[in-house]
């Protein structure tokens, strides 16, 4: 199955504030993209547009499978999303959050999957505690669990390592590496190290898509 993400001439403005324009790129399986830029340059905005959470002012985002365009209403099946502004239900436990998500998504055989994923993000021991009592790093781990529950083809990470301890950062690297093998990875970041793991970089300050090789030159 060949999955393709195409961004055609994306422009976004909030009222009179133009955030960015003419963003163009195409990504297929086994590729990765880093979105860089100063605070307020529009990294999160671009990621939301790619995930379908926000509409572009003009231009188009296209998801394709084997050349066939996917209805925007079905995008959620393909996307995993981790971001600081994504919130979980703090009146529920970590396990319940995942269970709710699995049921809403209609994930099959979810009990085993949830246990596996909780072990993976190292929250298994605390799975029955309310999210209200989680530290911000633990919440970040749970967001990864939520994002990976349905094995998304497109994994979008906004500030992937925020609030995480060194071991958590290691976990993110492992997830990122695995995602690159399986599908598409998109990261918004300013950390040079995180930029390095992606093949392509969009710098919103320069607004130019460059192959990483060219930047090194």
């Amino acid at each position: 199955m060949e999955f393709k993400l195409i961004c055609k001439d994306i422009r976004k403005s909030f009222g009179r504030l133009l955030v960015f324009e003419s963003i163009n790129f195409e990504l297929t399986n086994n590729s990765s993209l880093a979105v860089a830029g100063k605070n307020g340059s529009g990294k999160s905005t671009l990621l939301k547009i790619i995930a379908g959470l926000l509409s572009p002012s003009s231009g188009e985002v296209i998801y394709q499978i084997n050349g066939k365009k996917i209805d925007k209403l079905d995008w959620f099946k393909f996307v995993g999303f981790v971001a600081p502004y994504l919130q979980l239900y703090d009146e529920f436990t970590g396990y319940e959050n995942l269970e709710i998500l699995a049921k809403i998504r209609g994930v099959k055989d979810y009990k085993r999957k949830i246990e596996d994923i909780l072990k993976r993000v190292n929250l298994y021991a605390r799975r029955n505690d309310l999210v209200r009592g989680y530290s911000s790093g633990m919440k970040q781990r749970l967001k990864y669990a939520c994002a990976l529950l349905h094995d998304p083809i497109l994994l979008i990470l906004d500030e992937p390592t925020s609030n995480l301890d060194p071991e958590g950062v290691e976990m993110v690297w492992a997830i990122a590496e695995e995602q690159k093998k399986r599908g598409i990875l998109i990261i918004a970041t300013n950390e040079p190290e995180e930029l390095k793991i992606c093949e392509e970089v969009i710098n919103l300050d320069e607004l130019k898509l460059k192959a990483k090789g060219q930047i090194v030159k």
């Binding site: 959470l53 502004y85 809403i104 998504r105």
Partner: protein
């Protein structure tokens, strides 16, 4: 799709039972308004017509204070993205509608019982007319409140906007529903009220269909 709707409904129900944001406020509201009516009319004989109007005043305002929570709490806590990333907009809409329906039937059950127990002048002659009016009125009230809640959840002035926006939308429904209750006190037969029932039912159907069509645009910016 259906299982997704059901999952969202169950989530809201479980969350409500755990936090009791809406439930406690609602019950307090019903108790307070009914006691106020009792105090204000102490010793006077109130006509059945007036009492049916007052019944819907209680129902309207408790609906206003409770039914907006489903969307406003998601928006306030920032969990909207969680749902946006998990399913289609229409599943969210119908899940929330289902929750609001259950909530309003729960409230109305409580309101009506409390009303019968406290208002001596409230004597229903045709119970079927009363029940039909109450059920269809609740359906309409829940459906309109749900979509209005979805709209105002995006606005900054949530609290004040809700009754303001709801009133004109709900007016035709309320007038018909109050009328039904009055007819039930006068002892009208169910067949005589078909005109009213048709209005109430069409209101519900139209609002749900329009909301379903609109919701995609409201739900995502």
């Amino acid at each position: 799709m259906l299982s997704s709707i059901w999952a969202i409904f169950l989530k809201d129900l479980k969350s409500e039972l755990r936090t009791r944001y809406a439930l406690n406020a609602l019950l307090m509201f019903v108790v307070v308004t009914i006691s106020m009516i009792l105090f204000a009319t102490a010793g006077e004989v109130i006509s059945g017509e007036l009492l049916s109007g007052l019944l819907w005043v209680v129902i309207f305002f408790s609906a206003m204070s409770g039914l907006s929570r489903t969307f406003v709490s998601e928006e306030d806590r920032g969990t909207v993205i969680f749902l946006q990333l998990a399913t289609r907009p229409s599943a969210v809409y119908f899940g929330k509608l289902l929750f609001n329906l259950v909530l309003i039937f729960g409230i109305n059950f409580f309101v009506v019982i409390a009303y019968f127990l406290t208002m001596e002048g409230f004597k229903i002659k045709s119970f079927d007319v009363f029940l039909a009016g109450l059920i269809l009125g609740s359906l309409g009230l829940a459906s309109a409140s749900t979509i209005i809640a979805a709209i105002i959840a995006k606005a900054n002035t949530k609290g004040t906007l809700y009754p303001v926006l709801s009133f004109p939308v709900l007016l035709p429904l309320l007038i018909t529903a109050i009328n039904m209750t009055q007819l039930s006190i006068e002892g009208a037969k169910l067949v005589e009220t078909f005109g009213h029932l048709r209005i109430l039912f069409s209101y519900f159907a139209v609002v749900v269909i329009a909301s379903y069509l609109l919701f995609d645009y409201i739900w995502k910016e």
